[in-house]
Amino acid sequence: MLDITLRSLLISSSATLLGLLWSIPIALAISMKEFRGKSVVKSVFNALLGIPTVALGLILWILYARRGPFGPLHLLYTPIGMIIGEAILITPIIVSFTTSALETVHPEVKDLTRTLGASERQTSFAVLSEAKNGTILAIIAAFNRSIAELGVALMVGGNIYGYTQVLTTKIATGVNMGETVLCLELTAILLAIVFFLTLAMNLLRRD
């Protein structure tokens, strides 16, 4: 049980960190730069918020499959493949929520930091820091989505005992195998993780 829980935490937190690596710069670019098609880009990310996880799982399965474009990388049924898949899944969440948070920051904050001698990168950090609460909310939502999703984990990870089995895949498959009590315990762990992590992050959000 501990093994599955730790693996779930490791895969979901790695996916969240990986997703943050590209999602935050995307959100900064969308909110701070003016470009043609900006509203279309925002709409696409908003629409992708509701992507069914099995649909993404299937697409990734095809891409990762031995004869797929990423077949040579041997990502299918590996924790790395799951981390990448979940990072992709949570990208729209981080981008959309963070963009909304950044757009609520006073537009003159950008000008203010520039007149104080900040570079473009330092200006972005300052704006991000002003949108700290919204960004933390995006991280919470992304992590929760990652640890609680089933489609990508099952299709890309394959629920291999001791290797890619995580809380959600074990709960989903364990019920069919008559392990109802174990599944209930794992569900309690999953809910506890989501609850306590959200609580901890909310404490961070306090001014």
């Binding site: 003159e108 904050v109 000008d111 203010l112 104080l116 001698g117 570079s119 300052a126």
Partner: protein, 238 residues
Amino acid sequence: MLEELVSISREYDGVPVIKTLSMKVRDGQVLSIIGPNGAGKTTLLRMMALLEKPTEGKIYYNGKKVDGSSLNKIRGRVTMVFQRTVNFNKTVFKNVAYGLELKKMSQNEIERSVMRTLDLVGMKKFADRPAKKLSGGEQQRLAIARALVLDPELLLLDEPTANLDPKNTLGVERIINEIKGKTTVVVSTNNPYQAGRLSDRIACLLDGRLISEGTPKEIIDRPRDARIKKFVRGELIQ
């Protein structure tokens, strides 16, 4: 000459806001830009702060033409306090320290400079307060402190007392008088008498054009232009 604007114009979506204007900012002086709302004062200050490029014309800083390569070197030496006060969601101390931290100064130096500047604006005892919980007047003084701590060559104040009561207005004017002669200051205001109290020179802006420039006596006490006479008397001008 610290900054010189040569035949600058600024348009937004084809609408001219500043129309072929030339102006000189002399070292160590307080220059007030007066004019009614919509005259183009804020746009002019934003161009002086190098936050916006003129659609046409050139800007010289310390005799050198401002371009992309010199922009970052000049920023930080020219600071601006905005009409709508903007403060970081941090303590008063951290707000003032921000620009110094960018310069990678030591913590001791930062602490000394910040406390000295907070003292200058009468806010030493507010150092640990969250900036967002200050009153309007205190927030404006904080914004001035954050700009002043950098020891700027040019300080631009965009209607710094527009939203303040008389007591806080006097507080801000006192700060400007304290730094007079040490820092070059450009203040925009729609109060001609305030400009008269604070300035070495006054430029009068109307509908994006510089209609007159001179000493407070020339502009406020003995205005030649009929439109300035009306503006000083508080009458509507077209």
